[in-house]
Symmetry: C2
């Protein structure tokens, strides 16, 4: 492959940054603390992995134009809200995120709660804005994002994660939690890109499988990085999960087996793209990136 | 008027309770604490004023069938989420709501944050479920709810409310905060009922005016009840707003002028329904109820 993943990601990232700038409220205004807190967390140097996945899924099924920018940005707004709430003292109590103070440390707990709420709400607002997506697609994208990030998906995984802190590690429980907490939102990012392109159900099936597998692989890689990465690389505190008795993949099966499992998942994910031939290169490279990244 | 408002409201309330029971996750299950927390707060004896407003708006413009139940329940899920987050220690720090421990007192802060998030997300999921509303109407309802309850609406009002605690009372600031915090969500409840019925833009205009005015009247009445009601009647602590230096209408203009202003708003709201003749009776009576209620 001659094209490089980093230039592919940089180009899509720029599209996403521009679109987020359009969708977020402008800085300033009479009561600007809330919008400042929203912008602070959204524009903090994230990788934009979820929007890039949405765009790459849109492209692989032949989507044209920029109809994917709205669902792509919605996945990032939802991701950002989940990080803000996750970092709160009542949850993971983290002070650092992407090398900067977390939202509640930079502002305060109340603002962080409200800013998270506002970003989640804004995600659904931008998807349904007038004259951008056909109403059928907009409604399907809302349904998809709400399902994957609600009590049956991400939030259910987070609640289970907290409920099981300190319990005996159990591989079934870990895969359940990971599948909901990380797998479902990542799969949804892929799926909403596919929906924005009006793809057929066979495409949805293939890409859903891809999304679920890279989602699990991503979380395993995250758990490994939490144990082996440095705070400088990660831009946040590391080693906290084991310290607070969180169930992680490497804690149960060991780092080496965890890495093998992540690699198997990535291989499976890539195989589910076979039918797309050359067009599969971006999603293939992203899948590999997910387990090889250093932060 | 021969029909009584209380029987009208009781009938609609029952429809809403049944529909909420269908839309909420069942109790129990492997990791049930999150869904327990969601159900605890949704089924806590609320008046269901917002859904009843949505239904009454649906009916006044000639809506038929039960297409209004989904947006009606969505307004209640959003209202419940906002109360859960509002009651958190980082926000208003309330222990009592509707005569029972608040969600974070019954469960814990983390569950309360997640349960609020899950109810907000569920609101958008039920609106966009398949084969219930036409996609155009579902998308319009999501847009409406997200706009009215987001950073330009309810959340902006809450942030301003917190930011201005302890500042010198200012009638302009209060009406700004009330308009966003309470006016916008109540007006949205009326509007989504209207959208579910496929009403014309002239109906939307009239009912929006009605909704905004009763929204302001509702908040003024709430502020008065916080000063004059008892904890037993209200099911929550009273007199806290003045104690923490919150800006309230009666604190600025006095209780008597505040009541007069609320009454004027209700009269204006009722006048905007003139065109509907007899059909306006329910929304008319609800407007009167809003300023005459004791809790």
């Amino acid at each position: 492959m001659l094209r490089s993943l980093s230039s592919y990601m940089a180009e899509r990232r720029e599209l996403v940054e521009d679109a987020l700038e359009r969708f977020l409220p402008e800085p300033g205004g009479r009561y600007s603390r809330l919008t400042d807190a929203m912008r602070y967390s959204v524009f903090s140097g994230g990788k934009r992995l979820r929007p890039i996945l949405a765009i790459a899924a849109f492209e692989i099924v032949g989507g044209e134009g920029d109809a994917m920018l709205v669902p792509a940005c919605a996945t990032e707004l939802i991701h950002t809200y989940s990080l803000i709430h996750d970092d709160l003292p009542a949850m993971d109590d983290d002070d650092l995120r992407r090398g900067r103070p977390t939202c509640h440390r930079e502002f305060d707990d109340a603002l962080a709660i409200l800013a998270g709420d506002a970003l989640l709400t804004l995600a659904f607002e931008i998807v349904t804005q007038e004259d951008v997506l056909a109403p059928e697609r907009a409604a399907a994208i809302v349904r998809e994002l709400a399902g994957a990030n609600g009590y049956r998906g991400m939030l259910g995984g987070q609640a289970a994660d907290i409920a099981m802190e300190g319990e005996l590690p159990d591989i079934g429980a870990i895969e359940y939690i990971h599948g909901k907490k990380t797998g479902a939102p990542l799969a949804a990012a892929v799926r909403v890109g596919t929906i924005a392109a009006g793809a057929k159900s066979i495409d949805m099936e293939r890409l859903t499988k891809y999304g679920e597998q890279i989602g699990l692989a991503f979380q395993i890689a995250d758990d490994l990085l939490d144990e082996t990465g440095t705070a400088e690389e990660m831009g946040k505190a590391v080693g906290k999960d084991r310290g607070r008795g969180k169930m992680t993949y490497p804690a149960v099966v060991g780092a080496e087996s965890a890495m093998i499992r992540a690699q198997e998942l990535v291989d499976d994910a890539i195989r589910s793209l076979d039918a797309y031939g050359e067009r599969a290169w971006a999603l293939t490279e992203i899948a590999r990136f997910i387990v090889n990244r250093r932060n």
